[in-house]
């Protein structure tokens, strides 16, 4: 529920807007540097958005979500501007600081547009109504005779018009209309929503003027590079910095305390080298000699751990969804198919490594960071330094990629801790090696699936079990089950099978585990859609036809929802008609069935709903005589409901195919005695232009349904569709990621 108020006369906004600015919203402005928080004035309701119109016509819209490449910093202001009927070229976007009064700011879960679309429309439309009222009064005409065109209120009968800037001061004196009196545009009237608008920051990006976290500065800052404990939980026994201090530009070294379990987003601890510039800090680090103590996580070997996971996956686990009775069906003694699947840890490897600038002064902290979650910056720094959360001001820069890594602000806390010790601003820069070795890793996972096959080749029972160290381990040292993650493609199988059970087995974490773009959907979609294809192969059936039969007739799949999910269940029921539709689109567009598979050429399909968006992908592969794989084409169909920025949606799904190709073909993190073996792009490989899918065609379904996720849902179907294509091309069934682990020839 949104509560919009006219803020124009509120004292605390005067600093940022010239007098006469029409300020509408439920919002605070980003506070200037070192603003006194108490001067921000009373907050009388839960804020959602913020809009200001200055007398020169400049429209200021606050973006309270972080921009990491998914486009929400452009999309949400576009929605406000559309309903306001603003001239987009006059819009200025202010990035919000972290503040709970903005509501939820963790830019993850592909939900920025989904969660804020309605509110953004409402506030834009409210502004438009008030501007019309201001103009109508000035002209002495009825509001009904007035209309708007971008940036103007128009009275057609008398051929008069007034700009929003000219009306701002008058609008600022008006009461806010009731929600019932604010008419939203109908879809046909949208000027920006659903049209191809470029990213707001595009000109700055191509000219090098965009400010990422790596580019943030504070006057008088020094640079820090931190040697972290190689094994999670190790502490410093002793260290020798004599050689480090001889490096030109190095000023001193400092220690950072190890975290108190659970580690959450606290710094890992370690030795920081403080220098005049980043290079000197990096060089100084190489000259450090550190003795680390023991950690229980030194026992962690990912190769052995795999066996533990796979063995757990063969034993009964916690039931997370049950339909019918799989055991009774299995006991009938018909045909059984079973298979195990395995996926390794992954690192996020955003192109911009973790970085932050922070200054501690007089019990307060000011930070600039490329963070997906500025409120987590406040909470983490408050916890580590024992200051009040309200005394931590976090400004958000553009993010050079995030993919979930930058929801965890440990590096921002490091900068704050060091600044407190030094009494000056500190910029902490992680090297690529730091980034890959000290990530919050995508979890390693083992899945086991078993089906009883009926006479028509369709399964009569389907058991699926997943085992992996849960993300919950980051917040609770005893967490072994992935309870909160089962909605990520595991307790919501959309197949028409009379007997079905989904289970989750326990696993311990020995490295930091965190969200990575699409999260558990990656391994769950891999297992489910590889297995579906295995069943199609076993039945000697066409994979697309078989998949459509598995999905079954159009219907709403009955699922168990928690009380918090009731709203979502109503707005976004799991609708197999929409899933079937995206399958049918990619089958048609790819010319499925028209090209024979085999002899190194093959097509594969997978369809997965995640973040409330229905996605199907067909992947085409070519395997040459040396076993080298090329991906000439990917066809992806997307039903994400109402779309704000279609070209950006296509870009996201093109990119998701590349992201999927990296993890399906190349990427793997392994651990020996608690130490991560990979360190840079030499051994943690990502696809490049030549190995990425050559062409990805994206088909966006036109839909009036509520908006759903876009940033993540393109990733999960890619890997299973790709491996199914490999099977079609070569006859080889891949049951572990990445492909580089398997010799195709």
């Amino acid at each position: 529920m949104i509560n919009i108020q006219n803020f124009s006369r509120r004292k605390f906004l005067k600093r940022a807007f010239a007098a006469g600015t029409f300020v509408l919203g439920a919002r605070l402005l980003p506070e200037p540097l070192w603003a006194d928080a108490s001067s921000a004035g009373p907050v009388v309701f839960q804020p959602d958005i913020f809009l200001g119109i200055a007398s020169d016509g400049t429209i200021t819209i606050v973006a309270h979500r972080s921009e990491m490449g998914c486009g929400s910093r452009t999309a949400l202001p576009l929605v406000v501007a559309d309903e306001l009927d603003a001239d987009w070229s006059k819009v200025k976007i202010d990035q919000a600081i972290g503040d709970p009064r903005y509501g939820e700011q963790d830019t993850d879960g592909s939900h920025s547009v989904r969660s804020f679309f309605d509110q953004m429309r409402q506030i834009g439309a409210t502004g438009r109504v008030m501007l019309i009222t201001a103009a109508a009064r000035q002209w002495g005409v009825s509001e009904k005779e007035c209309s708007t065109e971008p940036g103007f209120v128009v009275h057609k009968a008398s051929a008069r018009k007034l700009s929003y800037g000219e009306l701002a001061a008058a609008a600022a004196t008006l009461p806010v209309p009731r929600k019932e009196d604010v008419l939203l545009k109908n879809r046909s009237q949208w000027r920006y929503i659903g049209k191809d608008n470029a990213l707001f920051d595009l000109p700055d990006i191509v000219t090098g003027h965009a400010t990422f976290g790596m580019d943030a500065k504070m006057p008088g800052m020094v640079y820090a590079s931190i040697e972290h404990p190689p094994v999670l939980g190790q502490k410093i026994k002793s260290y020798d910095d004599k050689e480090a201090l001889k490096v030109r530009g190095v000023k001193q070294t400092l220690t950072i305390n190890a975290f108190k379990p659970p580690h959450q987003f606290q710094p890992l601890g370690g030795v920081a080298v403080i220098a005049d510039n980043t290079w000197a800090a990096f060089q100084g680090r190489k000259a450090l000699k550190i003795d680390w103590d023991a950690s229980p996580n030194s026992v962690y070997n990912s190769g052995q751990f795999r066996k533990t996971l796979e063995s757990t996956a063969r034993q009964p686990g916690k039931v997370v969804r049950n339909v019918g009775d799989v055991d009774a069906e299995f006991a009938k003694g018909g045909k059984i198919v079973e298979a195990g699947y395995y996926t390794p840890h992954l690192a996020h490897a955003s192109m911009e490594p973790p970085v932050a600038v922070a200054e501690y002064r007089d019990g307060k902290v000011l930070a600039w960071a490329p963070t997906q979650n500025p409120q987590a910056v406040q909470e983490t720094i408050a916890g580590v330094l024992g200051v009040k959360k309200e005394d931590v001001t976090c400004h958000v820069t553009l993010l050079g990629g995030g993919f979930g890594r930058k929801s965890k602000p440990d590096q921002v806390a490091e900068a704050a801790v060091l600044s407190k010790q030094l009494g000056k601003p500190v910029k902490v820069v992680w090297s690529r090696e730091d980034d890959i070795q000290f990530d919050f890793f995508h979890s390693v996972a083992a899945m086991y699936l078993k089906a009883a096959i009926g006479p028509n080749g369709k399964p009569t029972a389907w058991l699926q079990r997943t085992v992996y160290p849960p993300i919950g381990s980051t917040f609770d040292v005893n967490a072994k089950y992935a309870d909160d993650e089962m909605g990520l493609g595991w307790n919501n199988l959309p197949f028409d099978i009379p007997n079905h059970r989904a289970e989750n087995g326990p696993a311990d974490a020995h490295v930091r585990i965190g969200w990575l773009r699409s999260v558990a959907n990656i391994y769950h979609a891999f297992a489910i859609h590889s297995f579906a294809d295995e069943l199609a192969n076993a039945a000697n059936r066409d994979s697309v036809q078989y998949l459509l039969e598995l999905i079954g007739p159009p219907r709403i799949v009955p699922l168990q929802y928690t009380p918090e999910e009731q709203d979502e269940a109503k707005r976004y029921p799991l609708d197999t008609a929409r899933l079937r539709h995206v399958v049918e689109i990619v089958a048609e567009k790819s010319g499925w069935g028209k090209h024979p598979s085999g002899n190194g050429h093959g097509f594969g399909i997978a369809a997965h709903r995640s973040f409330l968006t229905y996605v199907a992908s067909v992947v085409e592969v070519e395997v040459d005589g040396k076993g080298q794989v090329q991906i000439p084409n990917v066809w992806t169909a997307v039903d994400a409901g109402t779309i704000v920025a279609p070209d950006n949606v296509r870009n996201q799904f093109e990119g998701a195919a590349s992201f999927g190709a990296s993890l399906a073909l190349l990427s793997e993190i392994t651990v020996t005695n608690g130490v991560v073996n990979q360190s840079n792009f030499s051994d943690y490989e990502l696809v490049r232009m030549g190995s990425a899918p050559k062409h990805t065609s994206v088909y966006v379904v036109e839909s009036d349904a509520p908006p759903a996720g876009v940033g993540e849902p393109g990733v999960p179907p890619f890997a299973p569709a790709f491996y199914n294509a490999i099977r079609a091309a070569t006859g080889k069934r891949i049951r572990e990621m990445p492909l580089s682990k398997t010799k195709l020839l």
């Binding site: 990213l199 595009l202 790596m214 640079y223 990629g401 870009n651 190709a661 232009m689 990425a692």
Partner: protein, 151 residues
Amino acid sequence: MIRFKVNRTERTYDGDPEMPLLWYLRDIAGFTGTKFGCGISLCGACTVHQNGDAVRSCSVSMKEVNGTSITTIEGISANGLHPVQKAWMEIKVPQCGYCQTGQIMQAIAFLNQNHNPNDQEIEQAMSGNLCRCGTYQRIRAAIHQAAKELA
């Protein structure tokens, strides 16, 4: 004393001669359009031009910069956008944008050598530039488009 040019302006440097050009540009000269990505020439985010050739500034030391002329993204388009930048805007290539200045610098140097590249030549020339957002398809399209405009 190391003497060189950045974006046509004379500069001198008397710090650590082993410091990579990248960190001089970013931390000392303030040209932050050149990005740090890996530090070992594997990602291309730090690509600049040295005497017109694309180089990874993370792996060129300041002593190797002596007597040369460096161009960064900030110096590529003194008078309006370069055709490659225009193509990047028209095709709407970027997502997060972090790697894109390096991609653009690589593409410009490449197109200076090859005015009419095919897909394979583009893939080869751009193979050192990573994009984690996965915008490769649009980068390839933008290079084709820029090639047409430059022709």
